[in-house]
């Protein structure tokens, strides 16, 4: 149950499922991507060893993060990049604002950064008279529609092309009814090209940052990060402190895994390595905590910080595919979102670890081998202990525990349950029973196994 009175995952997922045709389409699109991922993984010799290596590198990184942060900062400065540290979202936003204000800049172009989405950067800047345009096509569409991205890699995977056409018609003046993806993309290309050419500031995210050399890598298919950055006077990179990797050569491992895990491509079209400012340009990098050191302190959950934001877990998760990213009411949705969000706000996101059947598919596709489904199970224990489980649930669980601890109580309950189901089925087969809404109840056998065994055990032994 999410705490603020807004709908929880179950309620939002129920809404999403009202349109079964759309669910099938959404589910099919993401499953197809999962299949592309499988194909490329199977075509990569040593795939499982690569995952293991990536996992080990990130484990080592997190266990020596202090030293690597200092090394990274030192190298950034040597490269001429200005370094900032932000404890939380507000401080991050303040830093971005102050950088822009110092140059009297009131327009910025941004490439994909889930971190800035988490921090609510665009809204913060808008309130202070600075306009930000998201240049990634999917994020641009979502921005026009005033909706957050539903997937960290495929921001508008939940939208049909007709809906996107309608958004373009309303905001960019395209012909009504135009929905051809190529034509729509060309319109966006023209429009955003002008944005790149006229904006003096660009902000990017960071896919990987190398402590050894003080450089960072930004991966895109569209080239939007580079179009913004190389035309800018001021370039800002926002980065979670966990995005570091120790050495340059480790990029080999991660860049071989990232795009394959995400969308079944051997590499993103652009893997841009930013190291020093262009002549006449200012470069800034903001290192952000915003709850990461707290997650680092959680022995059971710190592994989630290894995440390289590929989105593979979302593509494989049957619950995600059949409920949509927006049902998770969190910037990062899906399985990884469900193990990161309770650390940020346990009350608000107490429902997320329960939005899962613990099937384990996510853990298998994770390129850095985060045992996501194990952490979902562990978060459930924490959430109940902290008191965020619904009261009725706690009571029924206690009753169940009592019944199952006593053989006699169990036999009585079993017999009673079966009797009710058989003779007073209307008490169970009704609208109040959620099982019954779209499923029949199991048939009632004439006796339990216990009862059968008691009658027949001598006969069985003599056979």
């Amino acid at each position: 149950m999410s705490g603020s009175g807004t709908k929880d995952h179950a309620a939002l997922a129920k809404e999403f499922n009202k349109d079964e045709e759309r669910v099938d389409w959404h589910d099919g699109a993401l499953w197809w991507i999962r299949q592309k991922r499988d194909r490329s993984a199977n075509q990569t010799p040593q795939w499982e060893e690569l995952r293991e290596a990536a996992s080990s590198i990130k484990n080592h990184l997190l266990s020596n993060l202090h030293g690597y942060l200092l090394q990274f900062e030192d190298n950034l400065k040597k490269n001429g990049i200005q370094v900032h540290w932000a404890e939380d979202a507000t401080e991050h936003n303040e830093i971005v604002y102050s950088i822009l204000k110092a140059k009297e800049i009131d327009q910025m172009v941004k490439s994909k950064s889930m971190l800035t989405e988490e921090c609510g950067l665009n809204e913060y800047l808008a309130e202070r008279g600075i306009d930000v345009i998201n240049s990634d096509l999917g994020e641009y569409i979502q921005q026009l529609d005033e909706e957050p991205p539903s997937h960290i890699v495929l921001p508008c995977i939940h939208k049909r092309k007709e809906e996107i056409g309608e958004i373009f018609h309303e905001h960019l003046g395209t012909e009504k009814g135009l929905s051809d993806p190529t034509l729509l993309t060309r319109v966006a290309r023209q429009h955003l090209r002008n944005v790149f050419l006229t904006r003096r500031a660009a902000l990017t995210g960071v896919n990987f940052a190398v402590a050894e050399t003080g450089e960072y890598v930004v991966c895109t298919n569209e080239g939007n990060a580079d179009m913004g950055a190389h035309l800018s006077e001021v370039q800002i990179a926002s980065m979670g402190i966990e995005k570091l990797i120790p050495e340059k050569k480790h990029l080999g491992v991660f860049l071989r895994l990232l795009a394959r895990s995400a969308i079944g491509q051997p590499i993103t079209i652009y893997s841009s390595h930013y190291k020093k400012p262009r002549k006449g340009q200012e470069m800034h990098l903001i290192l952000v905590d915003a709850g990461r050191t707290r997650q680092l302190s959680r022995v059971d959950f710190r592994d989630s910080l290894k995440c390289i934001k590929c989105g593979g877990c979302m593509n494989t998760c049957p619950v995600y595919r059949k409920s949509g990213g927006l049902s998770y009411h969190n910037t990062i949705s899906g399985p990884i979102g469900a193990i990161l969000a309770p650390n940020i706000d346990m009350k608000e996101h107490a429902d997320l670890p329960f939005a899962s059947t613990l099937c384990g598919s996510c853990s298998n596709v994770c390129p850095v081998k985060i045992p996501i489904h194990d952490q979902l199970y562990k978060w459930r224990q924490v959430i109940v202990k902290e008191g965020y489980a619904a009261n009725t649930k706690a009571l029924s669980m206690k009753a169940m525990a009592w019944t199952l601890s006593s053989p006699d109580a169990y036999k009585t309950a079993g017999r009673a349950g079966r009797w009710f189901l058989k003779h007073l089925s209307f008490t169970v087969n009704n609208k109040l029973n959620p099982w019954y809404k779209q499923r029949d109840m199991p048939e009632v056998p004439k006796e339990s196994f216990d009862e059968w065994y008691a009658k027949n055990k001598d006969k069985e032994k003599n056979d």
Binding site: A10, K322, S323, G360, I383, P407, Y410, R439, P442, P445
Partner: protein
């Protein structure tokens, strides 16, 4: 070799046929099976809901009933996985640890311990295997589709020994059915959608029966099949392996 039979709570109450088939199948294969009366539950429903701390009673009862056996066999992959991963007791830690290494799901017991290579079984029908997540990703009863590696399936291995049985292949061999414990009612809409999709995968590929090592999955799929008046039936794998139609 002493073998104790563990019958999960809901199998005991609602699917005694599968329990009886398990018992008879093991006996046919020469195993002397003891069914300790008074057993109840593995505690999984509470633990998966975040109430692991309430399962001490269940755990103690389980240890009391099963610590004397060389092997413990159970026709439910999810219960076996739960015991393997979570059985604990402050008072009887050694016994708990021992039990965790001795508990087997039925299919893996046949392939790995008994090393069964033939069965006197006949089931002349088209059968689709629903690979339960706990059985597959938990107990490794087969190759997981996400991982790169050699293909294998313990369930297929056994079903191939059944006369007349035709295994059908489905589009998504290991997608979750959506039961998930309390998930099936707490997230009813998604749970049912997941179940419907599994059912459709089997029916469109010609299954007459859907089988699994987990009755919780089958109970959920059966609920959907029956509500939609389908001719397709669910059946626990023990009942197929024990079948002499």
């Amino acid at each position: 070799m002493t073998t104790g039979l563990f019958i999960p709570c809901y199998v005991n109450q609602f699917y005694p046929g599968a329990a009886i088939a398990t018992l008879r199948l093991l006996q046919k294969l020469g195993v002397e099976v003891t069914y300790p009366a008074g057993q109840t539950c593995c505690g999984q429903p509470m633990a998966n809901s975040g109430f692991e701390h309430l399962t001490q009673g269940c755990d103690t009862l389980f240890i009391e009933h099963f610590s004397s056996f060389d092997y413990i066999v159970c026709p439910s992959a999810s219960c076996v996985l739960h015991i393997k991963q979570h059985l604990h007791s402050h008072k009887h830690q050694e016994q708990a640890t021992l039990i965790r290494s001795r508990v087997y799901e039925l299919v893996e017991f046949l392939t790995d311990v008994l090393k069964t290579d033939k069965l006197q079984a006949r089931f002349p029908h088209k059968v689709g295997i629903h690979q339960s997540c706990h059985g597959l990703r938990g107990l490794h009863l087969g190759k997981m589709s996400e991982l790169v590696g050699p293909k294998f399936s313990k369930q297929e291995q056994l079903l191939n020994m059944v006369d007349g049985l035709e295994l059908i292949s489905i589009d998504r061999p290991d997608e979750c059915c959506g039961f998930g414990g309390t998930f099936c009612v707490a997230e009813e809409a998604v749970s049912v959608k997941m179940g419907k999709d599994r059912v459709t995968d089997h029916t469109k590929n010609g299954a007459e029966y859907i089988t699994s090592a987990d009755l919780s999955c089958l109970m959920h799929l059966e609920g959907i099949l029956n509500r939609n008046k389908s001719a397709v039936k669910v059946i626990h794998i023990a009942e197929i392996l024990n079948s002499t139609l």
